[in-house]
């Protein structure tokens, strides 16, 4: 019993930084995971990755100009993300080019700009924080930002839920009954951007997309309902956060990768063991029903 306590409970009770990290990771799971579910269902999982690369130069620019401060880095990341999301979305909606190609084009432009800017100033140890995050050093500003993003995301998802589902399920139908299709698409891209920006404080720009996609991808294997999938993804995100933080605490691992790897483990287990996973699908069925 004592072992359980020292392993699982004590780190969070004794250390304020662990509590803050846990709070941050919880709020991120709450908002990023449902966004990830829709990202995945719209076959835009890799778009999330592209967006994460796209915000890096903005964050790097903020970092180069103002040092390791959350506000300029956040604003920089937001600007870069919004430009890329809007640009790619506009090209996809207004021309015959599909979103995957336009997104790739825009994020590559953004990424190369970012690399250029970083190289102007030379490398720095602090820049590693931008790239890989510091969930164990979340300050009040960062927690505030994550909380704000979390509230905004949940409110937007609540309000636009029906339109978002309709836009994913049958976009042409939505266009025939409402003009909300295009605005909802951009609102959704905006949510992706702000969640990635909120995530990069904790998990780094490269990995913040991990908490978005991996729990969602894992949840896809367990259920056939969007609502349940979102809840399941949130649950998996929370569990991954806890286990990742504990791993990082006990084994002195970097916290961001530890959290994402935990989510990755949940994904792999789902791929193999879930009702719709590899194992059961390959298993020879002995009996079948008459109808």
């Amino acid at each position: 019993m004592d072992v359980l306590h020292t392993t699982f409970i004590a780190p969070f009770v004794e250390f304020a930084f662990m509590q803050r990290a846990l709070l941050g990771a919880f709020m991120l799971s709450l908002s990023a995971c449902p966004v990830g579910v829709f990202l995945m269902l719209r076959r835009m999982s890799l778009t999330g990755d592209a967006m994460a690369h796209a915000i890096l130069p903005g964050a790097a620019a903020g970092f180069l100009l103002y040092g390791l401060q959350i506000v300029p880095m956040t604003i920089g990341g937001l600007i870069a993300g919004v430009i890329v999301a809007l640009g790619a979305g506009m090209v996809a909606r207004l021309t015959i080019q599909k979103e995957d190609a336009s997104m790739a084009a825009f994020y590559l432009i953004s990424l190369s700009l970012g690399v250029l800017m970083v190289s102007l100033r030379g490398s720095s140890v602090d820049l590693m924080h931008v790239l890989f995050g510091t969930v164990l050093a979340l300050n009040n500003d960062a927690l505030m930002l994550i909380g704000l993003v979390c509230a905004l995301t949940i409110a937007s998802l609540g309000i636009f839920w029906r339109a978002l589902v309709a836009e994913c399920l049958d976009p042409l139908f939505l266009r025939s009954v409402s003009r909300l299709g295009t605005p909802v698409h951009f609102i959704f891209l905006g949510l992706v951007v702000i969640n990635l920006v909120a995530g990069f404080q904790a998990l780094g720009t490269l990995l913040s997309v991990g908490l978005m996609i991996l729990p969602a991808a894992a949840a896809r294997f367990w259920t056939q309902r969007v609502e349940i999938m979102c809840l399941l993804a949130i649950g998996l995100g929370l569990l991954s956060s806890i286990s990742g933080l504990l791993l990082s605490y006990h084994a002195s691992l970097p916290s961001g990768p530890a959290i994402i790897l935990s989510a990755g483990a949940a994904y792999l287990v789902s791929v193999i063991a879930s009702p719709r996973g590899v194992l059961l699908a390959r298993l020879p069925r002995v009996a079948h029903r008459t109808a």
């Binding site: 029906r162 994913c168 399920l169 049958d170 139908f173 025939s176 009954v177 309902r225």
Partner: protein, 269 residues
């Protein structure tokens, strides 16, 4: 004169300056059941898109009577069948015109959905994931969604493709019920016998309107021959269509007798 539900005035729809529907005039009166027929590429689906507003006219206009609720079943649905939704979720999309983005679904809404499902013979399918439906079952579910939409103007673009005979007759019965409820229905159909048997009116398109009126007259051998003679391919070097040459006369009523004569001027247009 009966009230108009749809008014086309000199409507030209197309893509990249090439018309797919060329100078269409006329009205669809309220409660009419019209089959839209023509060869591939004759502008049937384009006309549907124009009516829904998915495609802006190159010239002219297509006016839907104010306050008309419209339901549209496209030929190529963009429905994502891998999306985790149940049949009941799909059919409930049809509640959008009534409840919009935020309106709560009420008990009578759920009842309407259940009634629509049984109306298309899909009782007991409500909890089924949509990716387990067969093509015909999915088509019936989409008809159920149209039922739920409770629209005044219903546009169906080739709804009988790859549907078995029994389902076709079920769906025809449904369309006739809508007709009986004096809803305006336009259906793109390829099966001419089906049109002759079940549709009071028809519009024969060959980019230009060839004939429009009583179905059996429209589908006369002469009209069909004329419709077959149009060039399906675009001509990149086609001359620009001069305004007010091919469509100098106007006719705003449901009397479309004059269209065949105009088709003869096609060479000039």
């Amino acid at each position: 004169m009966p009230e108009a539900c749809l008014t086309f005035s000199d409507l030209t729809l197309g893509y990249n300056c090439h018309p797919a529907v060329h100078h269409l005039n006329g009205t669809v009166r309220k409660g009419a059941l019209t089959a839209v027929v023509g060869a591939n590429g004759s502008g049937k689906s384009t006309l549907m898109k124009g009516i829904v507003g998915l495609l802006k006219p190159i010239s002219g206009s297509c006016a839907v009577a104010p306050g008309t609720r419209l339901a549209y079943l496209p030929q190529q649905s963009e429905l994502d069948r891998s999306f985790p939704a149940r049949v009941v979720d799909l059919v409930s999309l049809g509640l959008w015109p009534r409840r919009g983005l935020l309106g709560r679904f009420r008990p009578e809404d759920r009842e309407a959905v259940a009634k629509a499902l049984s109306g298309v013979g899909l009782e007991g399918f409500d909890k089924r994931p949509i990716d387990t439906l067969s093509g015909g079952q999915l088509q019936r579910a989409l008809f159920a969604r149209v039922l739920v939409q409770d629209a005044d103007l219903i546009l169906l673009d080739e709804p009988f493709n790859a549907i078995d005979a029994r389902t076709v007759s079920d769906l025809i019965a449904l369309i006739k019920r809508w007709h009986g409820e004096s809803r305006t229905v336009l259906v793109v159909v390829h099966d001419l016998d089906l049109v002759r048997e079940h549709f009071p009116e028809a519009l024969l398109l060959a980019r230009q309107p060839v004939a429009w009126g009583e179905a059996r007259q429209v589908l006369s051998p002469e009209n069909l021959l004329r419709a077959r003679r149009f060039h399906e391919a675009w001509d990149e070097n086609a001359p620009w269509c001069e305004p007010h040459t091919a469509h100098a006369h106007d006719h705003g009523d449901a009397n479309h007798e004059d269209i065949p004569t105009r088709a003869d001027q096609r060479g000039a247009a």
